[in-house]
């Protein structure tokens, strides 16, 4: 079985895609499959593993990489449109 995404730390709320994915596809993880992707998402980008409420931290590498600027559904692309760093 070829994996298509990687969870970098057990506590992460996002996973990193190892190839381009189409909307509706599920990413293949070591632990099983993700929710269906809500949009086409390119390699190297992140999708949400579980729902994140606006204002909540997003976790990658077991650490906070920023805060959700919108509610994020499982399988949604997590990037500039819904995630902002905590540094200002």
């Amino acid at each position: 079985m070829t994996l298509s995404a990687v969870l970098l730390h057990p506590e992460d709320t996002v996973v990193c895609l190892l190839r381009d994915h189409k909307e509706g596809e599920c990413a293949v993880l070591l632990s099983g499959t993700s929710a269906a992707l809500t949009s086409d998402t390119p390699m190297g980008h992140k999708i949400a593993l579980r729902a994140v409420v606006r204002g909540d931290p997003v976790i990658k590498y077991g650490a906070v990489i920023g805060y959700a600027t919108a509610d994020i559904a499982p399988g949604a692309h997590v990037h500039l449109h819904n995630l902002e760093g905590g540094l200002r």
Binding site: L8, M43, G44, V64, H79
Partner: protein, 385 residues
């Protein structure tokens, strides 16, 4: 593996190489030192282009780095090339005090005859090399090994595959009693609070805060804001959204363990465990500083490729990028691209990497060694007078 086959030293940690170092202490000796090195291709040339007119912290640092290379665990003996007997004799005494052979050649002693001095240094170097190469390897504690990590010419695969894999190696090596170190202060941008929290004591955290603040003050004083445009458009298109995320991908090289030491540039590593070192960003400067601190082996991750390594500490090149691994097979020591291709989980690669590192500690060569891509560079901490 609780032992490896290396070179025990009278003072300090064991080495994984028994190098003859040609130590050129001053820019005045540089051309002669290059002739000596050309005649002794198995020796390691470490040549400072400076050596006069350093002041203050810069002067102390330059002297410290030369001494550290001359008495590094991988250094078996030293041919010292100096402008005058004062500098050369002091270094010869320092090296000899660690049980290593040393021979000093100064322009002063040779009546400023650079040609005669070079010929004599070559003759001595040939005998020296023969002695060092005759020394057999012995079982030495693996806990003596200090591993440094560096990344360069990174891409999306670095933060996802190669850096976390080196982090796994670091956690493994610390668990078996060894020491590890990563550096490059400006690559921690936005993640410093997390590093402070990982420090084992408030004293270590306080030291790290001060080192980070001082490095940032250098950029600020130069009118440079390292946060503007960071992460840049290339990072964004590669999938990195925030500065914290970019930095976490870089410091993933350090693994997940507690930080036992916060070090200034080139400062000696005295204890086992994970250390962080404040250094500039350029790989030659940061690697040499970690090597001077005692690292005998370096793990250098790359995305697009990067031939550079340390000349004194075998430098292992790793990539998670399948194209780079295929394009540069003679420059990449460890191909982790199976993880990037989804064929294997990262955890499945750790035993292979441990076995590669152990083999190199036991004497197997790296691509950097075979290709002659090693060097050592001493940072400048201020202008000369």
């Amino acid at each position: 593996m609780s032992t490896f086959m290396g070179f025990a030293r009278t003072v300090g940690r064991a080495g994984i190489r028994n190098h003859l170092v040609i130590l050129s202490m001053c820019g005045l000796n540089g051309p002669g030192a290059r002739r000596v090195a050309a005649a002794l291709p198995q020796a390691v040339l470490i040549s400072s282009p400076y050596g006069r007119g350093h002041v203050g912290a810069d002067k102390l640092f330059h002297a410290h780095m030369l001494r550290a290379f001359a008495t590094h665990p991988n250094t078996g003996g030293v041919l010292i090339l100096a402008p005058d007997d004062g500098l050369g004799d002091a270094m010869e005494r320092h090296v000899a005090s660690t049980g290593r052979g040393a021979a000093q050649f100064s322009l002063q002693k040779w009546g400023e005859d650079g040609s005669a001095m070079t010929a004599a240094a070559i003759a001595k170097g040939r005998r020296f090399l023969a002695q060092l190469q005759a020394v057999p390897r012995k079982a030495c504690p693996v806990a003596d090994i200090v591993i440094a990590a560096e990344c360069g010419h990174s891409d999306a695969s670095s933060g996802i595959v190669a850096n976390p894999l080196v982090g796994d190696l670091f956690d493994h090596h610390v668990a078996r009693g060894g020491a590890v170190v990563f550096a490059e202060t400006l690559e921690w941008l936005g993640c410093e609070p997390g590093l402070y929290e990982r420090c084992q004591t408030p004293q270590v955290a306080g030291r790290l805060r001060n080192l980070v603040a001082a490095r940032h003050q250098i950029t600020k004083a130069a009118g440079h804001d390292v946060r503007i445009g960071n992460p840049g458009p290339q990072n964004h298109s590669g999938g990195i959204t925030t500065l914290e995320e970019k930095s976490l991908g870089a410091i993933a090289k350090g693994g997940m363990g507690p930080i036992v030491g916060a070090l200034a540039e080139g400062e000696m590593i005295a204890a086992p465990g994970l250390h962080v070192m404040d250094t500039p960003t350029l790989s030659p400067e940061s690697i040499s500083s970690m090597v001077a601190a005692g690292a005998q082996v370096v793990c250098f991750t790359t995305g697009h490729g990067n031939p550079y390594g340390s000349s004194l500490a075998p430098t292992i090149k790793l990539t998670g990028n399948p194209d780079t691994a295929a394009r540069l097979p003679d420059q990449i020591d460890f191909d982790a691209s199976d993880v990037f291709l989804g064929l294997r989980d990262r955890s499945a690669l750790l035993p292979d990497l441990v076995s590669l590192v152990d083999g190199i500690c036991n004497g197997a060569t790296t691509a950097v060694e075979r290709n002659g891509d090693g060097d050592e560079v001493i940072s400048r901490l201020g202008p000369s007078v």
